[in-house]
C-alpha cells in the first residue's frame, strides 16, 4: 500500500516577506538609527535632570550640548549614522587636560553666583579684581560695607577633566536596545499582512 503525503507550503508568503525585507535594509537602518538617536536624547535629558553636585543652580549643558546636537545624519542600505555634534560631549567621553587658550589662565567658578554668571569675560559679575589667597590666585569681589573679599573664580593654567563614564549610555545598553529594535522590526515584517 502506498501512502501518499502532501505537504502544503504555507510558509512561502512569510518567507517572501522576510526575503524582500532583507533585500532592502534601508528601512531597518532608518528605524535603528532613529531609535538610537531617541535613546541618546532621552539619556541626555535624564542627565540634565540630575542635581548639580555642589547644589548650585544647573546650567543647561546636557540639553544644549547633548540632546540638541544628537541626530541621525545618514541612512543607507548598509547602515545608519547617528551623530552627537558636540566637542564638549566628546571631551566628557574621553576626558583629558583643559588648558587655558583664550587667556593666560582658566577661571574656575568657586561660588554658585560665578557658576551661573559663566566666564568672567562675559561680564556677569561686576567689580571683579585679581588677588591671591593661600591656595591660589583668584578673581574676587568685595562685599558689603566692610568690603569683605569673596573669591569667585580660582585661576589655573590647566585642569584635568576625568572621563565621565555616563556621558553617553553604556555600549551594552546601546547594543541591547538596537538588537531589540531589530528583532521587533523583523517580527513585524514576518507578521505583516
Amino acid at each position: 500500500m502506498l501512502v501518499s503525503i502532501n505537504i502544503k507550503d504555507q510558509l512561502s508568503p512569510q518567507l517572501d516577506r522576510v526575503k524582500n525585507a532583507l533585500i532592502r535594509l534601508r528601512p531597518l537602518h532608518a528605524k535603528l538609527g532613529g531609535e538610537l538617536a531617541k535613546m541618546l536624547r532621552k539619556h541626555f535629558s535624564a542627565r540634565q535632570r540630575e542635581p548639580n553636585k555642589r547644589g548650585w543652580p544647573k546650567r543647561k549643558f546636557w540639553t544644549r550640548e547633548g540632546r540638541q546636537n544628537t541626530s541621525v545624519t545618514a541612512v543607507s542600505d548598509t547602515g545608519a549614522e547617528v551623530t552627537i555634534a558636540s566637542a564638549a560631549i566628546a571631551f566628557k567621553t574621553h576626558g583629558g587636560v583643559i588648558k587655558a587658550k583664550r587667556g593666560r589662565m582658566l577661571a574656575i567658578p568657586l561660588t554658585a553666583r560665578a557658576y551661573a554668571a559663566g566666564s568672567p569675560r562675559e561680564g556677569g559679575i561686576k567689580g571683579l579684581f585679581f588677588t591671591k589667597t593661600k591656595k591660589s590666585a583668584v578673581l574676587a569681589i568685595a562685599l558689603g560695607k566692610n568690603k569683605k573679599i569673596e573669591p569667585q573664580y580660582a585661576l589655573k593654567a590647566s585642569v584635568r577633566q576625568n572621563t565621565d563614564p555616563n556621558a553617553v549610555p553604556a555600549e551594552n545598553k546601546i547594543d541591547e536596545h538596537v538588537r531589540r529594535t531589530a528583532d521587533e522590526w523583523l517580527a513585524e515584517q514576518i507578521s505583516a499582512e
Binding site: L22, L25, R26, P27, L28, H29, A30, L32, G33, G34, E35, L36, K38, R41, S45, Q48, T63, R64, R67, Q68, N69, S71, V72, T73, V75, T78, G79, A80, E81, V82, T83, I84, A85, S86, A87, A88, A90, T93, H94, G96, A100, K101, R102, G103, R104, G118, S119, R121, E122, G123, G124, V168, E171, I174, D175, V178, R179, A182, L186, E188
Partner: protein, 295 residues
C-alpha cells in the same frame, strides 16, 4: 539575518568610533545645520523684532540679523562664530586654537559691540552688549540650525515612514512657562492621551511657531522641543492609520517668497533690497530670488 547583523554593526560602529576617537581627529557637525548656517547673509538694519516678523520667512531664513543691530561688522562676526560652532571648527585664539562655545561667543561679541560703540546703554535685553541678549542669540541660532538638520533628515522617506509623527515636549524648565497646551489647541492641534502629537508634515507645527518654521524653536526662550514618535506608537494612539503613508514635505520657502512679499512697508523693502543686494530682485512689485541664488 547576516545582512541585519551587518546593519547592526554599522549602527553601533558610529558610537564605538566616537568612544575610540583620538583627540586630534576632526569632529563632525550636523550636515544640514552646516548648510543652513553657511547660506545665511548678515543683514544689518534698524528693524525691531516686530518689524522683522513682517519680513517674508524665506528672507528671514536666509538672514543673520538681530533686532536694531546696524553693525555689519558685528553681524559678520556673529555669522563667522556661529558657523565655526556648528561646523565644529576651531578658531585661532591667544594661546592656540579653541572651539567656539556660548561663553566665548558672548565675550567676543561684547568686545566688538563695545568697540563699535553699540548698545543703548540700558544694560537690558535691548542692549546688544548685554550678556543675556547675546546668549539668547547664540541659543536661538544654534538650536534652530540643529533642529532644522533633524527636521530635514526626518523628511527622508524611510525615516518618515519609521517616525511619521513627533511630540511637542518641554526640554528645559522655565520659571514662567507659556501655556503651550492652549497655544496648541488654539492652533487646531489635537491631544492624544493628553500629549501634543501630530504628523511631522502637519501644518500645526508652523502655526504654533512665532517664526513660521515647522521646527523648533517655536518662540524665544521657550524651552520646548520635539521628540520623534514611532510608527507603532503613532498607530496605537490613532495619530495615523495602520499602513498609512506620509509623503515627505520640506517647506519651499522660496516659492513662498514671491507670494508673501506684498504688504511689506516701503521703508522695510528698501532696507531688504540694500541688505540682500543682488541675491533678490523685485519684479512687478514682488520679491524673488535671482535664479543663480535660488534654493
Amino acid at each position: 539575518m547576516h545582512k541585519i547583523a551587518q546593519g547592526l554593526h554599522k549602527v553601533v560602529a558610529a558610537l564605538r568610533n566616537a568612544r575610540e576617537r583620538k583627540n586630534d581627529e576632526p569632529l563632525k557637525g550636523l550636515p544640514e545645520a552646516i548648510e543652513r548656517i553657511k547660506a545665511k547673509t548678515p543683514i544689518s538694519g534698524a528693524l525691531k523684532t516686530s518689524e522683522w516678523a513682517r519680513v517674508p520667512l524665506a528672507l528671514r531664513e536666509r538672514a543673520m540679523f538681530s533686532a536694531r543691530v546696524e553693525s555689519a561688522r558685528l553681524l559678520s562676526a556673529m555669522q563667522d562664530k556661529l558657523e565655526r560652532r556648528i561646523t565644529l571648527t576651531r578658531e585661532a585664539v591667544a594661546h592656540g586654537e579653541a572651539y567656539v562655545d556660548r561663553s566665548s561667543f558672548i565675550a567676543d561679541m561684547r568686545k566688538i559691540a563695545e568697540a563699535e560703540g553699540l548698545g543703548d546703554k540700558t544694560g537690558t535685553i535691548t542692549d546688544i552688549r548685554n550678556a543675556a541678549r547675546l546668549g539668547l542669540i547664540f541659543d536661538f541660532q544654534t538650536q534652530q540650525a540643529a533642529e532644522y538638520a533633524r527636521y530635514a533628515m526626518g523628511q527622508d522617506a524611510d525615516m518618515l515612514d519609521a517616525f511619521p509623527a513627533q511630540e511637542l515636549v518641554r526640554i528645559e524648565e522655565r520659571e514662567l512657562p507659556r501655556d503651550w497646551l492652549r497655544r496648541w489647541a488654539e492652533a487646531g492641534g489635537k491631544l492624544f492621551g493628553g500629549r501634543m502629537i501630530a504628523l511631522k508634515t502637519d501644518p500645526i507645527w508652523q502655526r504654533i511657531s512665532r517664526f513660521g518654521t515647522p521646527y523648533p524653536p517655536f518662540d524665544f526662550g521657550s524651552g520646548m522641543g520635539v521628540e520623534d514618535v514611532s510608527r507603532e506608537e503613532a498607530e496605537a494612539l490613532g495619530v495615523i492609520q495602520a499602513g498609512q503613508k506620509v509623503a515627505p514635505s520640506l517647506p519651499d520657502f522660496n516659492a513662498q517668497l514671491e507670494a508673501s512679499a506684498t504688504g511689506i512697508p516701503p521703508e522695510i523693502m528698501g532696507k531688504l533690497m540694500r541688505a540682500f543686494g543682488n541675491q533678490i530682485e523685485a519684479v512687478a512689485g514682488k520679491l524673488r530670488w535671482r535664479a543663480q541664488n535660488a534654493g
